[in-house]
């Protein structure tokens, strides 16, 4: 399969795709963070009439296509913001109206050129890309757009950051939010036009938002997000291209599918934010609560020891869970197991003391500050005792004026 990489057209196509992956990935982060995904989609669809006009005026010319499309994109952006500011139409509806209209004009124009004027313009190439038709000029143009976009983002990084995060603050600092917005629109239309050959107008939005959304799951720092997104964009382009070659299908959609694959991988596996790690945390949390409930149960039972049987009959969770948690408590030296009985160890007793303190302080807090009946405070405290850290408890205690006893008259122990 690697032999295709020795042919010139394939290398050109691959280079163009990877550049597109990179610029879309990086720029897309700002599009996603500004909730402008729909506008990105709109700009890409809206460039078609620009191509039509360029062809009518200058014939088949890469430069003319580029200029025409970029202008069409900007015209769309301007009309959309004009409507948003002057007509009472919802923002996303305004976007929808304009981009479908411009897209339709483009489709009508290009089909007309093709069918009745006999021009060699295939609508499909514009809609889904025609990566194998990448010319040297296309490649050079993409290179320019790539360098221009990356430089702009690097140099304007601060402005993009603050106007995206807190536009009001940016304005209060004297940064022109509007100028940055329109400059971003300009970059967006350049990038969209450069992507025309590789992925086509319909799927550009995927290259803009999917890698960016993926990167946002993977890092909490904007600089890293930009880098990761750029890399995912390039990898999607590379693997999409190879995939398309292997299965003899269209590269643009294949790139989109690979990017989506990365997205779901991240959604499942991302450390901290991924579904699996969140599930894991939830499981750990529920085990911790169960462990604390067991400790409390033994502590509250008369005598030092409790029979294993009574734990199983009093705490209603599935036996296998209970067994596992008991075992881990014994391993952690919080519980001591004799033949049939279980007792708290020294550290277990300390733990029980602190839980009791949390429980009784919370009962007191509910009663004293919210006026809840002492009969009713127990249930809530049973739930909350697992979630009160020392700092919060200290503050509660201080607020309550260091109470000695809970509403039922039981003493509130000090922290051990």
């Amino acid at each position: 399969m690697m032999e295709i990489l020795t042919t010139e057209w394939a290398l050109r196509a691959l280079a163009a795709s990877i550049m597109v992956g990179l610029m879309c990935g990086v720029l897309g982060c700002f599009i996603v963070l500004r909730n402008m995904s729909l506008l990105g989609d709109a700009l890409s669809h809206a460039i078609l009439p620009g191509i039509f006009v360029a062809f009518v005026l200058f014939g088949y010319s890469t430069i003319a296509f580029f200029v025409g499309s970029a202008l069409a994109g900007l015209v769309a952006a301007l009309i959309i913001s004009w409507i948003q500011q002057n007509v009472q139409t919802k923002n996303d509806a305004a976007i929808g109206i304009i981009f479908t209209a411009m897209f339709s004009l483009g489709v009508m124009g290009i089909s007309w050129l093709n069918q009745s004027q006999g021009a060699h313009l295939d609508l499909k190439d514009f809609l889904f890309g025609n990566v194998l038709g990448v010319s040297n000029e296309d490649l050079i143009l993409s290179g320019f757009v790539l360098v221009y976009t990356m430089l702009s983002i690097a140099l304007l990084y601060r402005y993009l950051f603050i106007t995206t995060f807190q536009p009001k603050i940016a304005e209060a600092m004297g940064i022109s939010v509007k100028t940055i917005h329109y400059y971003l629109m300009l970059l967006l239309s350049f990038v969209v036009v450069a992507s025309l050959r590789t992925v086509g107008v319909i799927l550009v939005v995927a290259m803009l938002i999917t890698p960016a959304a993926t990167a946002l799951l993977l890092s909490p720092k904007l600089k890293n997000v930009l880098v990761i997104s750029g890399i995912i964009g390039m990898l999607s382009a590379l693997f999409g291209f190879l995939l398309a070659y292997a299965f003899e299908t269209t590269p643009g959609p294949a790139m989109c599918i690979v990017a989506t694959g990365f997205y779901f991988l991240a959604a499942l596996l991302a450390p901290k934010t991924g579904l699996i790690s969140r599930q894991w945390v939830r499981r750990k949390e529920s085990r911790r609560i169960l462990a604390e409930d067991i400790i409390r149960f033994i502590d509250k039972s008369p005598g030092d020891e409790v029979s294993t049987v009574s734990i199983f009959s009093n705490i209603s969770v599935p036996n296998y869970k209970l067994k596992a948690v008991l075992k881990s408590l014994i391993n952690a030296n919080l519980l001591i197991k004799s033949e049939r009985n279980i007792a708290l160890s020294e550290t277990g007793i300390i733990k029980a003391n602190n839980l009791q303190r949390a429980h009784r302080l919370w009962e007191t807090y509910q009663h004293n500050t919210m006026g809840i009946d002492p009969e009713l405070v127990h249930w809530e405290a049973d739930k909350q005792e697992h979630h009160l850290d020392d700092e919060l408890l200290g503050e509660v205690e201080r607020k309550l004026g260091y109470p000695k006893a809970d509403p039922h008259g039981s003493p509130i122990p000090k922290k051990k």
Partner: protein, 250 residues
């Protein structure tokens, strides 16, 4: 005392659509004071800030800051907006945000230098959030989040501060730290406007107050302007409840 006038608001009126939110506000703000901006929800406190900062259009009136158009003096003004206007999932760390305080001093191609990083660090130390510097903003408690935005204002070394509800949703330690910072800034001759809700602490916290409810009810030294009569004027029917809770003074 040579108290310089910092803000001059003349006959300011603001509406949203057909709805009048501020009517004929006349206000002089003097240097070196902390002003409590007091009034019920929807009184137009945040709107007053935004109008002075020229972030929204107003129907009528004129506003100058240090006798100038605000556009000329923005560098010296720090704004900490209400917390409900922040996107907490944004990939921004504490350090990133505090460093933003240095943005107004940088030309387009200029990079952040060691001096900027030092100022950001000092601000973080002052508000005791240095060890959180790599945390994402959403992964902080309410009090810590408020400290981050205040630290950004400090890093800006501004002369005029607009703090919108800095005490809402923060813990006691943070509230103490913030009020200490406010007093310290006022002592250094800075001017602060602070939207505040807890009427019981107004007299302790602020030298001066601005009582607002669509109209300017009263303003001036706290002991003169923050009277039961003015408070009841500002809060209208809600005062009976406030009295019951014992939050007004005396």
């Amino acid at each position: 005392m040579n108290e310089q006038k910092v803000i001059d608001v003349k006959s300011l009126s603001v509406s949203f659509g057909n709805k009048r939110v501020l009517t004929n506000i006349n206000l002089d703000i003097f240097q070196g004071n902390s002003y409590g901006v007091i009034g019920p929800n929807g009184a137009g406190k945040s709107t007053l800030f935004k109008a002075i900062l020229n972030l929204i259009d107003y129907d009528m009136g004129s506003i100058t800051v240090w006798d100038q158009d605000i556009e000329n003096v923005r560098k010296k003004i720090a704004y900490v907006p209400q917390k409900d206007e922040v996107d907490w999932n944004f990939p921004a760390t504490v350090k990133d945000i505090v460093l933003m305080g240095r943005y107004p001093f940088k030309k387009i191609l200029e990079r952040m230098n060691a001096e900027d990083h030092k100022m950001a660090e000092e601000a973080m130390i002052q508000l005791d959030i240095l060890d959180l510097k790599d945390r994402q903003i959403g992964k902080l408690s309410g009090g810590q989040q408020q400290r981050v935005f205040l630290a950004r204002a400090l890093a800006q070394k501004a002369d005029l501060y607009f703090l919108d509800e800095p005490f809402v949703g923060v813990d006691i330690a943070t509230e103490e730290r913030i009020i200490k910072t406010i007093n310290q800034l006022a002592d250094e001759g800075k001017t602060l406007l602070v939207v505040h809700h807890d009427l019981s602490t107004v007299s302790d916290y602020f030298d001066k107050v601005i009582l607002l409810n669509q109209r300017l009810i009263a303003y001036g030294n706290t002991e003169d302007a923050f009277t039961d009569k003015n408070i009841s004027f500002a809060y209208g029917g809600q005062l009976t409840i406030l009295n019951k809770l014992g939050v007004t003074k005396k």
